[in-house]
Each structure stands twice: as structure tokens, then as C-alpha cells.
Amino acid sequence: MTLDPEMAEIAKVFFQESREGLDVMESGLLSLDATADTENINTIFRAAHSIKGGSATFGFVEVADFTHGVETLLDQMRNGVRPVTPEAIQTLLQACDCLREMVAATEAEKPLDKDRIAALNADITHILGEPVHQAPTPGAHQGASDAGAVDNARPGIAALNQHSGWRIAFEPVADLLRVRNEPTRMFAELEGMGAFTARADVSRLPPLDELDPETCYLSWNIEIAGEIPRARLDEVFDWVDSRCRLEIVPIGDSAAAAAEPAGNAAPHPPGAASADARSAAAEAQRGPAIAAAPAQKAAGESGSIRVATEKVDNIINLVGELLITQSMLSGFADGIDPDDLDRLRQGLSQLARNTRELQESVMQIRMLPISFAFNRFPRIVHDLSRKLGKKVELKLSGEGTELDKTVLEKISDPLVHLVRNALDHGLESPDRRLAAGKQETGTIELAAFHEGGNIIIEVRDDGAGLNKPKILQKARERALIAADMDLSDEQIDNLIFMPGFSTAEQVSDVSGRGVGMDVVRRNINDLGGHVQISSKEGLGSTIRIRLPLTLAILDGQLVRVGKEVYVISLLAIVETIQVGRERVNTLAGRTEVFRLRDEYLPVIKLCDQFGVEPDSRSATDGLLVVVEADGKRAGVLVDELLAQQQVVIKSLESNFKPVSGIAGATILGDGTVALIIDVPDFIREAVKRSGAVNAHAA
């Protein structure tokens, strides 16, 4: 199916909306497990209906037909005709998956998985208790299956009617064409349904010299013959119903319908006698249901706008500039005529406040609630617990906590991994839980909250906890730690983040292949975050992820070495100390180490690493900034600590290339560029380098 470029553009929106709709359906279906409340089914139904309507509009016949079956089933559930069974929910969930694939395939213009569609269609039809029939094609939408599927989604629209035809009065608002609706396209679709006649009302047409080609002056009276379900007509007008006056009446029934007062029992339209009485009654209660109501917002609509990330990034850049200008001006203020100084200072402080506020609100655009990542979990846990035969309750909290879109996207996969692990390894099977005197149903909690300038995400389970002796044994077996090393409980727990570590007794297809936790940790570290696990035997484990709010701005500590200024992320800094001579020792005559409480840390001289001329090369003269990354600590020798400030991260790569040990650059208040140190890489580099220096010591 190829669409013209304009339609393709709109179709893109449809694909995106369909995916959102499917998410809504899925989360709705999952919560149906517990309660079969009508509002919930309604929400699911509406989502399905929009997908059906949209796909039909774009001519994605397979998607529309498939959704049609789903919609029918949902409608029956909603009306209480069909019980909500776990099997039906499972089938519907599978249908969601299938639809998601169909949407993806349609978007990519790839062939659909016809067998799967047919199989699921058969399942649905089976549930519907009807003889298996081929997926209905447009124009053949009559028959029993339609009886329940007619559009009940929007109050104010009649239920089903089947009769000799419809009379439609269609009077669009003047700007119909400007919003890219095309009546002829709609008419073409109507024409496909039955004998179609349209008379245009040209009475509003102005003289030619006053005519604005983009204004719609016409209105139409349309008659269409044939037994066409009302829902099919509504679909055609679905896109324009807020932009027109629309009356749809069955032929031969217009007088009756129009005269019918609200709330009275409706005289059935011809042909409707066979219809579901419930629908007819519902129609009556809603009144004549003639003029189309403005499209009702589906429940759960977030009122959000779609903005291209690129545009937002642009604004963020600009605001960054503004901030720089402002700090540049503040710098000037120190050296001008004292009389004007006060006024200037006042103005500047206002500018500072404005820019800060602007920056915050612009940053907000990029922020999304973490529910975008959390929403996948009910389904994952649902599927996985079935597969593993475990009983699990998933608790989510803090779904509204917002974080940067990029961080959000990158944290999803690690989170999935952690939750799977918790389910697979953490939680015990029901009988083991009972034997241990616990409730049969295990709990997995996903919580997100703010702490300081960070977001904390916790994955908690009330399972068996980590088996510390086993971890220790395994770590020793694999020589990950020295055989005689003494570790605290916390240190043992965190061994599971070492590369090549998995204690799963049985490798399942869920987890346990030994790649995993180290990847999780690396991904989180790449985001500038930190992950930690703590567990109590028999009581469960808690994995705590600390993430920065955003990747575009960093809380930095400015440090000076000689004439150069560098930025170190505050997240990486443990503390800053001045050490006495007695605490500094030399190893093998080269590497300096210093004692910090009970551990020895290497001294990394920033000046040597980056080849700059420092004030002093002695570890005792300067300051040691103790940094931590990947569980390694080191003291970085600098000459002076300067201010702490938020810096806007600029990429070095866009015009240059990645440089080891450098995460990026930023522009300081005086307009100069300062490099931001990539702490994990910096430490790695330093270790490598000290080896290299030792090797060709000259």
C-alpha cells in the first residue's frame, strides 16, 4: 500500500497513535485480570475503535478487519453479554501483540503474518461463539458479527441500524480544506458503500473575485442507498465531525427521528427491530442522536503535544547560550562605573532569574514521566509469572516522577533485565514460599522518586535474597576476587555486577546466561548513574539505581590545573581532601597511593594525564579529588577547586572526535571552553597509562 506523501505524513501520526492505543489496550486488559469494570472495558474498546477507524481511513484493510473482531468481542464484554474470562483476556492480549506487529509491518510496508492473524481471528471468532468465517471485507460488513460491533463508543451516536439507506446533511465549517480534509475523498469512500448521490448546496458561494480558494463554501445533501451500518458512515466522518454540522438520518425515518424528544422511547428505525434491544434502548436514552457531538476525549488522554526532539534540543541549546551570555555579562559588571553598578546588578540578577526559569521550563519539555518505562512491566510480569509458574504481585509507585527522555529510553532495557531477574532468581516458587512461611504470592515493587538532584529507581522483591556464600564461592572459582579477600556483605552482594557472573542453578531462557548484570551496570554508568544492590537472606533484595535528571546539563565541580580548567561531575566526586605527607606512599617507585581511612587509593595526576603544566606535582601540595566510577576509587590531583556550577554539555564529537578521558566540553562564563572529564574512562586510561609508563620507563 503506497500513500501519497501528504497522506503518508498523516499516516505516520496514525501509526504512532495506534501504538499508544495498543498500550492503553494492553494496560487496560492487564488490569481486567482483577476487576471487570465497565469503564475499563470502555477504555479498551475506545482504543480498539480508534485503531479500526484510523486503519480503515487509510485503507489498511487487514488491520481494520482484524481490529473489528477484537472490537466486537470487547463490545460484547462491555455489554455484559460475554463473560470476561482469563482465556478471553489472554486472547485479547495476543491480539494486541499481533496488531502491534501488523501496524509495524504496515508502516514498514512489509507483508503481514497472515497465518498468525488467521489463527487469532479464529480464536476470537471461537470466543464469539460463531461459526468461523473469513475476515469481513469492507462493503460486506453486515451480518451477525456486526450486531455488537456498531459504534457505541461515543455517546450521541445511534447504535445500529440496517435499512434501505441514509440521508446525510453535511455542512462543513469554512476552514475544512485548510486543515487538510478533503470531502471528495470521503465521498469516494461513501460511493463504495452503495448507490450514492450528492447534491452540493452552492448558495454560500461568493462571486468569483471574492472567492478564497482555501475556504469551503459548499455543503452537501447526500443520499446513500443500501443496508449500511451506521458505524461505517461514522467512520467516514470521524475525522471531520468537529468541523462540520452533520446530520445522518435513515431514509424514510427523518421526520420521526427529528421530532423525537429526548428521553422518550424511540420508535425503531426500519430494519432495526432485529437489533439488540439494549442498544436501541440506550439510543433512546441518549436522545435523537442526530447532530454529531464533538469527538469525546478518550479516557487517559494526557493532553500532551508531540514535539520533534530536534526542535526541543534546539531550544535547549539556545537557552544554554542565554545562560552563557548572562554569566558573561555578570563578569563584566565587576569592572565598570560604580554609579551604574547597582542598576546593572539588579538587571542582571533579574536576567539570571529569568534565564534560569526559562531553562527549567524548557528542560521540562524533555522530561517524561517514568510511567513510560514502567508501563511495560505489568505485561512482562504477567507473561513471565505464567511461564515460570510463580505468583507475583507487581506494585508500581512514583510513576509520575519525570526524567529526561534520553535517560528514560536508555533505562528501560536495564530495568526489564532487573525485573526479570527478580522474578526468575529472586522470587521463590509458590510451594517454596509456603514452606518458608511466606505468602504464596510474591511481590515485586518498582518505585521511582527524587532524591537530591537525582532520580532513584528501586526494584524490590520479597524473594529469597542473594545467596552470599554461593556468590563468594563463585567469585573465587572464577578468580574475580582473590581467594583470601575479606568482603563486607554489601561488597559480596555487589559482586553480581562483575562481568561473567551468574549464579542461576539452572539456565532458563529468561535469564542466567551470565551476561546481564554487568551490562546493566555499564548501561547505567553510561547514563552517569550508579547501581547498587542490597539483600537480606530470606527477605528479598533491593536494587537501587541513581540517575541524573538529565543528560544535557551536569552538576559540575570546576577544578584548575595550571592554566586549564576542567569540569568533574559532582555525581562522581566522593570527597575532596588535602593529604599529609605521611599518608602518601609510593608503589614500585612510580605509582603513588594515599591512605583514605581504611583503604589505599591511587593518585592520578591530572597534569600528567592531560599533559598540562601544573602549579605543583606533589600530591601533598595540591588537592585530591576522590572520585568513584565502576566501583573503583582514585584520587585526582588538582591545583585548586573553583566553583560548583551547572554546565551545559557540548559534544566534542560534532566537530572533532571522541577523546579518551573526556566526556565533552562546556562553555564557561568568560566564553572559554572547559573540558568535562569522563571519570570512568579517565580512571581506566590512567591505569593503562601507568602500565605503559612502567613498560617504557626511560
Binding site: 541549546n317 544554554g320 547560550e321 552563557i324 586549564e564 594525564q609 592531560f610 599533559g611 598540562v612 557540548k650 559534544s651 566534542l652 560534532s654 566537530n655 572533532f656 572526535k657 577523546v659 579518551s660 578521558g661 573526556i662 566540553a665 562553555i667 566564553g671 572559554t672 571552553v673 572547559a674 573540558l675 597509562r689 605503559a692
Partner: protein
Amino acid sequence: MSTAKAAAADKSATETSEQYLTFMLAGEEYGVDILRVQEIKGWDKVTRIPHTPDYVLGVINLRGAVVPILDLRRRFGLETIVFGPTTVVIVVRVMSGLTERTVGMVVDAVSEVYNVDAADTKPPPDVCGSVDTVFVKALATVEEKMLILLDIDRLIGNSIADGLAPGVAAA
């Protein structure tokens, strides 16, 4: 850029000719395609970048963008001089791989804008002064002078890629 363009407009351009901005480097005159030149600015302090070859002087803030500055003398292995009042940075746009980058080149002085007719250019000989001939697009004769027309995509692209190898960085 605007002055360069204005100067260029005075000269009549023919169909086959291209305009080149020329600059001086150790007494030789080099040319770059003027359409690649974004601006010419005075030499200013740079922020040094570690682990890079010596001809990468550092980066500057060019209206919010972090732009690397290369010293062409060092790049070509010429003797270095103290930057003087005529020392300028020519900011050019180059294609490096699939991305366009903005890079500054430090040269001794800017010289002229010439129309160079394709007929007046010759392929570079195997030996071409101090410059590696892979970076030379052609030699041109204008007003009895020889211009060395540079292939800046290759020159800058290579210069940036060179530093990628850790061995070079450590040297």
C-alpha cells in the same frame, strides 16, 4: 566571510572557474574553495585537548559550538613561528565521513580571492614542497604565481582521524 565574498564579486567569474581564498604559509600560497570558508577570525586563546597530535591546538567557543583549531604549519611539519598580528584562523566546513564539521585552521596570513580557471590547473607532481601531495587537489597558476589548491576534506578529515589511534595520542 562577507569581505571575502565582496572581493570575490568584483572579479568576473566564468563558467568553469572556481573561487579560491588563498593564504600564506611559510612563504607559499595555498588556496581553499571559498564556498567552504565560513569565516576568518583573529587568533585567540584555545582550550587544549589531551591525547591529540600536536597540530591540534585545542578547541574554541564559536558562538556556542565547540570548534577544534588546527595549526597548519605543524600539520605540514613546517617550523613553527610565534603567532603574530597577521596570524588568523580560517574557519572552514569540511566533510569528514558523512558528517559536516566546522574546523578552524591557523595560517600565517590571508592573502587574496582568485578566480581559478579549470584550464589553468595542473595535477600536483609527486613531490610538492613540504606538503603531502594527497592533500593537494591541484596546482594553479594565477598572475604568474603558483597556488597550491588544498583538498581540505582529505586534509582535515585525515587530521582528525589521525588522532583516533591511541598510539598517536600517546606519542
